[in-house]
Amino acid sequence: MTDEALMICIKNDDLSKVALLYERYKQRLLQYFAYRSFSDRDVSKDLVQQVFLRVIEYRKSFKDEGNFKVWLYAIAANVNRQEIKYQMQRKDSLFAYSEEYSYVMENDDYKIVHQILKKLPEQYGEVLMMSKFWRMKYEEIAALKECSVGVIKTRVYRAMQLLKEAYFKLT
């Protein structure tokens, strides 16, 4: 069953299908929140749960012909934005990164890449994450960002170029 078909079932109050979507997206959501500066283990998993809670709450707003991945990303981005706002208000130590406690490193360069990614301009970093973690096509990102496919392509190319340059400079 496609994501959209599952979401239509959820829209019709079949909440058991939420579990399937959760299994499909939990890991990429975790990665997304980790890179989006909330790599604290509790915060990231809570944010993932918040995203699915909103999926249930706002299920009726999902359009039958809509793209689930894009819709879910919009929710996750919103949750992320609110969390940043909340953390800014609290100004506590949650901003301190602690990925090493939460994740197994794929390779030793993880920290370097993360630092580079964080230093990338927002528009480049964002499209790169959408492409990497959400596996979104250029067309999907363009639809979400409300700009042309060409613009998105340029941003992704530029992001990859910057990432590569910085990476080889540091390693």
Partner: protein, 289 residues
């Protein structure tokens, strides 16, 4: 193909933005061209560096939390009890039924009740002059009677009968001031039989000693008449204190023989005040002398 074009194509390849045909063509190109292969490998290195796998225990905790949340949401959304589903409908019908019953009851009450026959009562608070004393009088209020100027106006009219003297009516006023005024008004005029009767009745029954004193004072100038003397003699046992003393003085002053038996009776009455008894003894002695 420029270096920039190769990098862009490699990016499309890694991000999964090539079609199947393009992908096959690009992979063939990779095998053939070392320069392109090197570019793609460099990019792949950076691309894969972004990967990370969350720790197993983090995933387990997250799963537990998620399924607990999902159960809660499912339970909230689909309660097993069918009553829960029909409850809103029941509430709606109950509301409609309540409104209908109310309208029917209102219409039945409005068109079937004989409200003209209902006797209404009004509680009036009557305040007397002198010592504070309040009594409540339940009076009948005519259904279509016009509103009186004051609440007491409706009290007076029903108790006045055709055979009753105006003085009697005034002496029945709940206000002591009204009764005293009525008595003092009589003082200046001539006393009729009806007035005498009214004054005698008031002297016996009026609860206010001031009214009684006013009556005694009114009767004093006319005490030479037998009628007034008899009135005073009859009222003697019903009055007390100063009023009684005044009446005894008046009777002795007018040398009323008819009063002697009543005086003697009072003398032997234990309830008669001591100084009144002395006053009676002294009066009888003076009378005999």
């Amino acid at each position: 193909m420029t270096a920039s074009e190769i990098e862009n194509l490699a990016t499309d390849y890694l991000t999964g933005n090539l079609s199947e045909e393009e992908k096959v063509t690009f992979e063939q190109l990779l095998e053939q061209d070392e320069r392109i292969r090197q570019k793609v490998n460099d990019l792949r290195l950076v691309w894969n560096a972004l990967d990370m796998t969350p720790k197993k225990q983090i995933i387990e905790v997250m799963d537990d939390n998620f399924y607990a949340m999902l159960n809660k949401q499912t339970h909230t959304l689909q309660p097993d009890n069918i009553i829960y589903r029909i409850q809103p409908v029941l509430y709606w019908w109950a509301s409609v039924a309540a409104v209908i019953v109310f309208v029917i009851a209102f219409c039945l009450g409005k068109y079937n009740s004989d409200y003209q026959q209902i006797v209404k009562y009004k509680i009036l608070q009557v305040v007397k002059q002198g010592p504070v004393q309040t009594r409540y009088v339940k009076v009948y209020v005519a259904q279509n009677a016009e509103k009186k100027k004051a609440g007491l106006g409706s009290y007076q009219s029903p108790v006045v009968t055709q055979n009753q003297s105006p003085l009697m009516a005034q002496l029945q006023s709940p206000y002591s001031s009204t009764r005293i005024s009525a008595v003092l008004a009589v003082k200046e005029g001539k006393l009729s039989e009806a007035d005498l009767k009214a004054l005698g009745s008031a002297l016996k029954n009026d609860p206010d000693p001031n009214v009684q004193l006013a009556i005694v004072q009114t009767l004093q100038p006319k005490a030479s008449s037998t009628g007034v003397q008899r009135l005073l003699i009859n009222a003697l046992p019903f009055v007390q204190g100063t009023v009684q003393s005044s009446m005894i003085d008046i009777l002795f002053a007018n040398k009323s023989k008819e009063a002697i038996p009543q005086m003697l009776a009072l003398l032997h009455n234990d309830s008669t005040a001591y100084h009144t008894q002395g006053q009676i003894k002294q009066g009888i002695e003076e009378f005999l002398n």
